[in-house]
């Protein structure tokens, strides 16, 4: 029992931190420009495929640096030459633009790498058990993922709270027009933020790719969860995105590891319940409903606290 709790906690925190690498960019981009960037998870997928391609040619470590850089540049180009022009035509046009971009990127990835999973492997230097709890070996690569995500989180925190550009970004989260009227070039700062956001998503792709499956549907699988995280945390709130990422990460990991069902919870009461239809419901395990839980949380949050846990914006 303790073993399951310990391993699930580690895995949940890891999953949560990976979500945060993506949700942080998504929520800042939304706050500054009101753009819900559907293509954000696509940058994560590009990161994984670029990481795979670079790692099989010159190694995993160069890939860890180069893939996010490349994806960051793509992000900058998308903002500068695409989004900024579309922005003039309003939010609906922007939504459709980023929505279309997800398909462009997915088709491009399938053209180059095909639809089947690619063989993106854990680098040999990290392919060993880091430690053993009870009978379970915890892989060194997972520990590396966790540490990388934590390091980036710390760096992001320092940049946002301690540097001048971070202050400008924070100010632009609530009043972008005012920031411009104080003489700051909000367009350029937003382009940078968009690029850094894409690069952070790519880092998540590079380090999650070998542990999960690197495949052309990975963006479509992850995208919805990302929106759940950002809405639960509160659109535009970095601390909110952080807690919601960890919450979703832990909830999903624990749910998958749990065999509990309503029948267990209600004990003898359940056995007395009549029809076989009800008995089916009693016996559904938490693990079986795990995929629904984030969306259920999303719906509940939207009903009872539409601003999200820590959102500041009303709209």
């Amino acid at each position: 029992m303790i073993e399951i709790v310990l391993i699930s906690t580690l895995n949940g925190v890891l999953y949560g931190m990976l979500l945060f690498l993506m949700a942080s960019g998504l929520t800042i981009i939304f706050s500054m420009m009101g753009v819900l960037n559907f293509a954000h998870a696509s940058f994560y997928m590009l990161g994984a495929f670029f990481g795979f391609e670079i790692s099989r040619r010159i190694g995993f470590w160069p890939g860890l640096v180069l893939a996010p850089l490349l994806v960051g540049l793509i992000g900058v180009a998308v903002e500068r030459y695409g989004l900024r022009r579309v922005h003039r035509h309003g939010h609906v046009a922007e939504l459709l633009f980023t929505f279309g971009l997800t398909f462009v990127i997915q088709e491009a990835v399938e053209m180059v790498w095909g639809k089947l999973p690619v063989d993106y492997r854990v680098p040999p230097s990290l392919d060993f058990p880091a430690f053993t709890v009870f009978a379970t070996n915890y892989p060194a690569f997972k520990l590396f993922e966790l540490l990388t995500a934590l390091a980036i989180f710390a760096a992001l925190l320092v940049v946002v709270t301690r540097t001048r550009i971070g202050l400008v970004v924070q100010a632009a989260l609530t009043h972008p027009a005012m920031v411009a009227m104080l003489g700051h070039n909000v367009d350029r700062i937003f382009m940078l933020v968009f690029g850094v956001g894409a690069a952070l998503a790519a880092v998540a792709g590079v380090i999650a790719g070998p542990a999960l499956v690197t495949q052309s549907n990975m963006a479509a699988l992850l995208g919805p969860i990302l929106f759940v995280v950002v809405v639960i945390g509160g659109l535009g709130s970095l601390p909110g995105a952080f807690f919601a990422s960890l919450l979703i990460g832990l909830v999903q990991t624990f749910a998958v590891a749990s065999n509990a069902s309503l029948a267990d919870l209600l004990g003898p009461l359940a056995s007395g319940a009549g029809s076989s239809f009800l008995r089916d419901i009693w016996n559904v395990t938490v693990a079986q409903v795990a995929p629904i839980i984030p969306y259920l949380l999303l719906v509940l949050i939207l009903i009872f606290r539409p601003r999200g846990l820590m959102g500041q914006r009303e709209s």
Binding site: L167, Q170, V179, A180
Partner: protein, 231 residues
């Protein structure tokens, strides 16, 4: 200093400004008066470039219509919006520091000066901007814009919702700003303050200027006041 000729602006399809003409000289305090909804705030916003202005706006001999808001700000026009736009999560001091423009080292107006004039802001230097009272927020937003060393500052409804005592202090602050050689465009509801501190006043009605003169001229012209100002 600032010359506005035949200024037009639109929100969607509504034609808000329909040919506004006015000018502001060096060291001058100019007020734009009028009822709600006649386009006074939009005039200031259009000069800052949002909504996009049509017509001629010349500042210090340079046409600025068509420039982006941050470019206009960097040329030396400061803007204080009616809603004050304090960054709520940042501290009072951080709010002030954001008034410094990129690459700008010092300012005619410093953080220390703000503290000297408004000791109650200094006491709350590390409090989040969102925790200030309305009057404190108004002082902070004006001082924040002054940090950027503007040659002209446009202030929208600074006394709205403030106590009479606070209104007096805002009036004193505006005169102090003018003494330092910064021109002021003031959009105001309260005639008393505007008439006391302005050199010249304009009255706006339905998207254009309907009266121009000194405060004494306006006091003498009961017809204009009745038709365009009194509710």
């Amino acid at each position: 200093m600032l010359n506005v000729r035949d200024l037009h602006a639109y929100y969607g399809k509504s034609h808000i400004l329909q040919g506004v003409n006015f000018h502001v000289g060096a060291n001058e305090i100019v007020s734009i008066l009028g009822r709600n909804g006649v386009g006074r705030s939009t005039t200031l916003k259009a000069i800052m470039g949002d909504p996009a202005p049509r017509g001629e706006i010349v500042f210090k001999g340079r046409p600025v219509a068509g420039l982006k808001p941050h470019e206009i700000a960097r040329l030396g026009i400061g803007y204080v919006p009616e809603e004050r736009a304090i960054f709520p999560a940042l501290t009072v001091e951080q709010n002030l520091l954001l008034g410094l423009k990129p690459g700008q080292k010092a300012s005619r107006w410093s953080v220390e000066e703000t503290w000297r004039l408004f000791p109650q802001l200094r006491e709350r230097a590390n409090a989040p901007g969102g925790a200030l009272s309305g009057g404190e927020q108004q002082m902070l937003t004006i001082c924040r814009t002054l940090m950027g060393a503007p040659d002209l500052i446009m202030i929208d409804e600074p006394t709205e919702g403030l106590s009479p005592q606070m209104v007096e202090r805002i009036g004193d602050l505006l005169q102090e700003i003018a003494r330092r050689g910064i021109s002021i465009v003031l959009v105001e509801q309260r005639l008393v303050i505007a008439l006391r501190i302005s050199h010249r006043v304009y009255v706006m009605g339905h998207g254009h200027i309907v009266f121009e003169g000194t405060p004494a001229d306006l006091m003498a012209n009961a017809e204009v006041r009745r038709e365009w100002l009194e509710v």
